[in-house]
Assembly symmetry: C2
Homo-oligomer: 117 residues x 2
């Protein structure tokens, strides 16, 4: 997918998806429970949006045990990757993005940070 530029922007046009994307852009790989905790949104809601992002090719997934880890697709076209970074730089100091990162980094029992990566 992602032949069409407007498809890429559709993925950024929902606040839940944008928060997830910028969290990944800032922090790298994250799993569903981390998104759910950081954004304080239900697991099905997060999961559905991540599935959406994955289907459109913006992110990729990796399973590790029961955890699914998601990250920005490094094979995205250069301009798309650049836009993600520009957006992060532009809005990372504003809400809700500040809180999202803060809550994430203060989360304990994060899967990635334990044994099982």
């Amino acid at each position: 997918m992602l032949n069409e530029a407007d498809t890429f922007f559709k993925m950024l046009a929902d606040s839940t998806r944008l928060r997830c994307l910028l969290l990944m852009q800032a922090e790298g790989e994250l799993c569903v429970c981390e998104f759910s905790h950081a954004l304080n949104l239900s697991q099905p809601k997060i999961s559905r949006h991540l599935a959406h992002l994955r289907q459109s090719g913006v992110i990729i997934a990796r399973r590790s045990g029961t955890w699914m880890h998601y990250r920005i697709n490094p094979e995205l076209q250069g301009w798309a990757l650049e836009i993600l970074q520009t957006t992060l730089d532009g809005v990372s100091h504003t809400e809700p993005f500040v809180s999202d990162r803060k809550i994430l980094t203060s989360m304990n029992k994060r899967p990635e940070l334990e044994c099982c990566a």
Copy 2:
């Protein structure tokens, strides 16, 4: 408007609006008849999308006689302006953007290029 980043991306998430925006980003100020001609889309369709872009603050308008000239809002936040340029650079060599510009520049009787700017 445009407090919210996802609102900005919503504006880019429709192919008609994206084509109009990139045409403005590339060519500067344009009027409705030029969009309608270049994209080969009906006047009401173009006009409605431009109104949408204007309401969200992404573009601004200037009247000159019967013509309405639209252009990218120069007071957009820096990151938003940067994204428009990055997008243009990234996709301007692909369809439908190539054709749009080609048809625009080969259009005769363009208002801006005559007396009445």
